[in-house]
Structures are given as C-alpha cells and as structure tokens.
C-alpha cells in the first residue's frame, strides 16, 4: 500500500515574479499558454476498450474539433496521451516509450476505471493497476466506460487546467524520475531501460530535481547496453529456410 504522500498531486507552481515589475511582462507567456490550451493534439493510440468511445467523441455527433482537439498519428506530434482503459503490462511498456518520445509540455489522461485502480480486472495478472505509478497522470476520467460527453468534459477540464497553468505534471516526471523508474523496474525487471535519455533531458530543460537521480537510476548504469544488432524477430523459423 502506498501512502497518500506518494501520489503525485497537481501542484500549483510558485508564481513567477513579473520581470522588472512590468505587468505586461507575462503577456507573451500567457498567450502561448492560452494557445496551448486551445490546441490539443491527442495521440491516436487505442490502448484499451475505452477507445471505442473516442470515435463518437471525435466524429460528427460530439465533434472534438470544436474545442480544438484533433487526433495525431505519431507521439512526436501529440500533446495528450490518452490511456483509454486497462493497460496490459506489454502495452504499458509501449506507453512509457511513447510518452517519453512526446514533446513536452505533454499531458496524460487516464480514461476508464481500469487506469485508476485496475477496474474489473483487479485480479488479472496481465494488467497494470495504477497508472500514476508509472506515468504522471494529469487527469482521470472514471467510468466503465465514460461516455463521450464525459470524455469531452474531462478534456475541457484539462484545457482549463492548462490555461490556469496548473497542469504541469510532465515536469514531475523529470523531477521525480527515480520514483517512476523504480515502479517501472519493479514491474518490468531491473534491466528495464528506454531509449530516451530522460536524465539528460531533465538537465537540459532545467528540470533536474533532487529526486531525479536515486537508487533506481543508478541501476540504469549497470544494465546499460550498447545498441547491439539483434536477432530477427520476424518468422524466425521460416526465414532460415530462405537464407
């Protein structure tokens, strides 16, 4: 059992002092934040059954494009990672890879009860139970499955949070990388690593916190392998005949 303090809560960042006391100094930042909240590209990745309510939310009846949300195909282009429903361990690895490839500021939304606490698959050996152990979740939309109205309502809440500057959990991933990596290692094994250099990125973007490094990140060094050529994974048996 984790205690309440382990759960990342949405923290309001300290108010940035206006430069030189000029009231207009933050206008530009505010404008960018406003644009950010009005233009959200969500990643087109159906991780679970909640994805079935996304087409209705996107298409003619509920039309997400009204509030500036449109699906995007690759993680590089996307702002929101919608984790729609239960996440099997195999998918969770891909989700983490995907998340790390997205360009920040990036937001994670957990849709469906399964992302909150395993939902009705709480007994299942194959699904992860608590998404915010592995990724910094900005918003949960509970329900099995949430209706398109609820999805849009949740996205609007995210929009408002972004506009107000309170949705900054992506920074938490850099600042407390050790915590997230530890949970990932616990599930995937100690040799878990991703191709993205999260620590270097944290340093580069000035988000290096006291908890970025820790015992879990030290393990990365032990297991870091050079990129080596690997066996062909495609129909291994049949290929040997061909070659």
């Amino acid at each position: 059992m984790t205690s309440l303090s382990d759960i990342p809560v949405i923290q309001t960042p300290p108010e940035a002092p206006a430069r030189g006391g000029n009231p207009l100094a933050n206008v530009f930042d505010d404008f960018i934040r406003y644009c950010r909240s009005r233009s959200l590209f969500m990643l087109h990745y159906c991780t679970g059954c909640g994805a079935i309510e996304l087409p209705p939310a996107m298409t003619s009846r509920f039309d997400m494009e009204r509030i500036g949300i449109q699906p995007m195909v690759t993680p590089r282009q996307a702002d929101i990672l919608l984790v729609t429903g239960y996440v099997s361990v195999k998918t969770l690895k891909r989700i983490i890879l995907t998340y790390e490839q997205m360009a920040s500021p990036k937001y994670v939304i957990g849709i469906c009860s399964c992302t909150v606490n395993g939902g009705m698959y709480w007994q299942s050996y194959a699904t992860a139970k608590k998404l915010n152990d592995y990724l910094p979740v900005d918003l949960y939309i509970a329900g099995c499955m949430p209706r398109p109205e609820a999805v849009i309502e949740g996205l609007k809440a995210l929009r408002d949070n972004i506009e107000a500057g309170t949705s900054d959990n992506w920074k938490d991933y850099y600042q407390r990388y050790d915590h997230y990596l530890g949970n990932q290692q616990r599930l995937f094994g100690a040799d878990w690593q991703t191709p993205t250099e999260v620590i270097a990125e944290a340093k580069h973007y000035g988000l290096f916190g006291p908890d970025t490094l820790g015992e879990h990140t030290r393990r990365l060094e032990d297991h870091r392998k050079p990129l080596e050529p690997l066996r062909m994974t495609l129909n291994a048996g049949r290929l040997e005949h061909m070659e």
């Binding site: 159906c46 309510e53 099997s88 195999k90 690997l230 062909m232 495609l234």
Partner: protein, 380 residues
C-alpha cells in the same frame, strides 16, 4: 525493455527493410501490431504480434461466480459485445437445462441484430478511413451512435449492455421503444443511398479495394475463416441458419454471398448483411408485441448457484464470424474452465499473415479492416 522490440536485425539486405505496423498506428484496428518485411513497396512477410490487450479473461472467469462473469464477458470484443453475452448465457443455460422464455429469445434477437448493425457501421467507417475517406467514418460512427442510444434505453449501457442473463434478459422493452427502433431503421435505410454514393459505389474506392487480399473458398476453409469473410468467397454458411439458436429458425432472412473473396467482396457482403439485419429487426418489431410471457426463467440464488457438471460448446454468429464458448463445469459455484473462440483469432493472425504476403504496403491496413479483425478477441 527487451531490446528486440525496438531494433531491427543486423545488416539486413539493403533492398529489404522492416516496418512496424502498430501497436501505435492508425492503420491497425485496436491495439495490435504487425511486423512487416518489405521489398520496396511489396510485403514479403508479416508477423502478427498480439497480447497488447491481454487481460487473462479465462483465468478471471475461473475466479468469479457464474453470474458475475456476465459482467465480464462483453469486454472481450469491444465493437460487438452483445454476442459474447449471448454465447456465454446459452452455454450456462444448456448446462442447467434452463428453458428460455419465447419473449426473452425475441428480445435477444433484437439486441443481437442491433449490435450487428452497429458493428458493421463501425467497420465501414474504419475500412473507409484506411483508404483516406474520413467522411464515411464520420458518418458511420455518428449513425452508429443512434443505435447506441437505443441500447442505452433498452439496457442502460451504450457499449456494454450486460443484458443477457442465463435464463433470459434483464429488462423488457420500455414504452414506445419499438417505434423508436422503427424510426431509427427508417433513417438508416434512407441513409444507405448516401453511403452508396459516398462509399460503396465510389469509383476510387472500388479501384482501391477490388482484387485486394483475395482468398479462394478452398483457402478460406483451410484457414478456418468464418462469417462475412467466408461468405465473400461464395459459401453461404451462417451459424444463425446452420446451427440455429434463439428463434432464428422462425425468422426470414437471406444469407448474402459474393464470389470474389477480396476486400471489395467482403465489404459488399457486410453491406448486404446490414440490410438483412434491418429486415430481421423489422420482423422482430412486428412480432414482439404479440409474444407474451416472462422475460426470464427462474434461476436459483445467483450467489450460491452451482451449475451442474458438464461441458458445452455454444456457438453464435457475431458480426465478425463464428463465435464460440466452451464452458466446463464441475458442479461448483464458479466455472472450471471457459474457453472462447473469437472469430478474429483466425482472421487477425493466420489469415492476415497469409493475405498480406505479396500485397502492397498501402493495402495492409485495408486488408486488416476488410477482414474486420478485432484484436481483443485474439488476446482475451
């Protein structure tokens, strides 16, 4: 991370390369992956990679009561969940020797066929989107929503209904519901002409779909293909007629077939099935008010319900093909073993791997969607 998941093999021949189709790819239905090896634009070889949606259903069901599992089973196939409940309920009923009242059987037909219409509309949309025609997807999904509204009214759930129980159904139709079904069917039928103009007789789409992923009847039978994909090769097999369940033997409907066996033929078969389902629904609407009776047979206390020992293999025709449950009971309060045979278990793995060989890169997604493969049925 096991490194083989994101690296290619050592020194491949320079003219050959590997492409990962999925799991995060718009050309893949759901959360599924295909590793495709290409020579230029031509697919040499493909390997399906599943398990992204694995939840261990069969294990979960062994740990829950017979009645609890009803809430679990529709989750196996998301676009077309209703037949799952039905097949499981039928298996339990057969084991218990429960007699399902006539009215419940007609209500189940109503649910099944509405679900089939919804699933087909969804498939058309997905298939059109793989060829770049998003308007059909926008229309299809929006029209499918009208059926979800009907489901919501009938069962309380838009997507997962949990409407069937062993022994009957959970609710009777609300007042005026059948009129609303009729009105929705009228609307859908009037929309079919629009869909024809936009999609089914669109010359560009025909150019794209004709001759793609062809399958002979012999090949289809060898590979265990069922459902609309089998009917597109000319064999008029439908579980509803050949292994009848519910009251399908009292209903008039045709089994549409095509002979070409390609993506185009599969789409045409689905379109014809949509019309047949509407025809079945009209018969249900006409006959349901005249059928009296309770909507479920009495069952024992569901929390202490020991289903007699035995085993049964129940089959239904889902929108994707033959769906079967093998249920084994040892007389306990929980199933000893349930095994689901989803139609896509064949279509998404062996059939897909076979059909994409030799096709072009641009047709891989189309072949998958024209087979109407549903990955959660594979992964369970």
């Amino acid at each position: 991370m096991r490194a083989e998941n994101y690296q290619s093999r050592a020194q491949p021949p320079s003219h050959e390369y590997e492409l990962n189709f999925g799991p995060n790819h718009p050309g893949i239905e759901g959360n599924y992956a295909l590793k495709v090896r290409l020579h230029g634009d031509t697919v040499i070889d493909a390997k399906a990679d599943g398990g992204y949606l694995h939840r261990g259903f069969e294990k979960l069901m062994e740990q829950r009561l017979w009645i609890q599992n009803i809430a679990l089973v529709p989750r196996i196939c998301v676009p077309d969940p209703a037949p799952m409940e039905l097949a499981y309920s039928m298996a339990v009923e057969t084991l218990c020797g429960l007699e399902v009242p006539a009215r419940a059987q007609w209500l189940r037909v109503l649910q099944m066929e509405l679900s089939r219409v919804a699933a087909h509309l969804f498939t058309f949309g997905g298939h059109a989107a793989t060829t770049g025609m998003y308007s059909t997807m926008f229309w299809g999904v929006a029209d499918r929503d009208l059926i979800l509204d009907l489901f919501e009214e009938l069962t309380g759930g838009r997507v997962y209904h949990i409407y069937n129980l062993p022994g009957g159904v959970r609710r009777d139709v609300p007042d005026g519901f059948l009129d609303r079904v009729s009105a929705t069917l009228d609307y859908l039928e009037s929309r079919l002409a629009d869909y024809d103009n936009l999609f089914f007789t669109n010359q560009v789409f025909i150019t794209r779909a004709r001759g793609i992923g062809p399958m002979s009847q012999q090949q289809a039978l060898e590979l265990g293909v069922t459902g609309p994909n089998l009917r597109a090769t000319g064999l008029a097999f439908d579980v509803r007629r050949d292994d009848p369940y519910l009251v399908y033997d009292q209903i008039e409907f045709d089994i549409p077939t095509e002979t070409a066996g390609d993506a185009w033929a599969r789409t045409l078969v689905r379109r014809a099935e949509l019309k047949e389902s509407i025809r079945i629904l009209r018969q249900v609407v006409a006959r349901l008010p005249g059928i009296p009776g309770p909507i479920r047979a009495p069952i024992p206390n569901p929390l202490a319900w020991n289903v007699p020992a035995g085993e049964y293999y129940s089959r239904v025709e889902s929108s994707k093909g033959e769906l079967a449950w093998y249920v084994v009971s040892t007389g306990g309060a929980k199933p000893w073993r349930t095994h689901i045979r989803g139609p896509s278990a064949m279509h998404a793995v062996q059939v897909l791997e076979t059909l994409v060989q030799g096709c072009r890169l641009e047709d891989v997604a189309q072949i998958m969607f024209s087979l109407d493969a549903c990955p959660p049925e594979v992964d369970r």
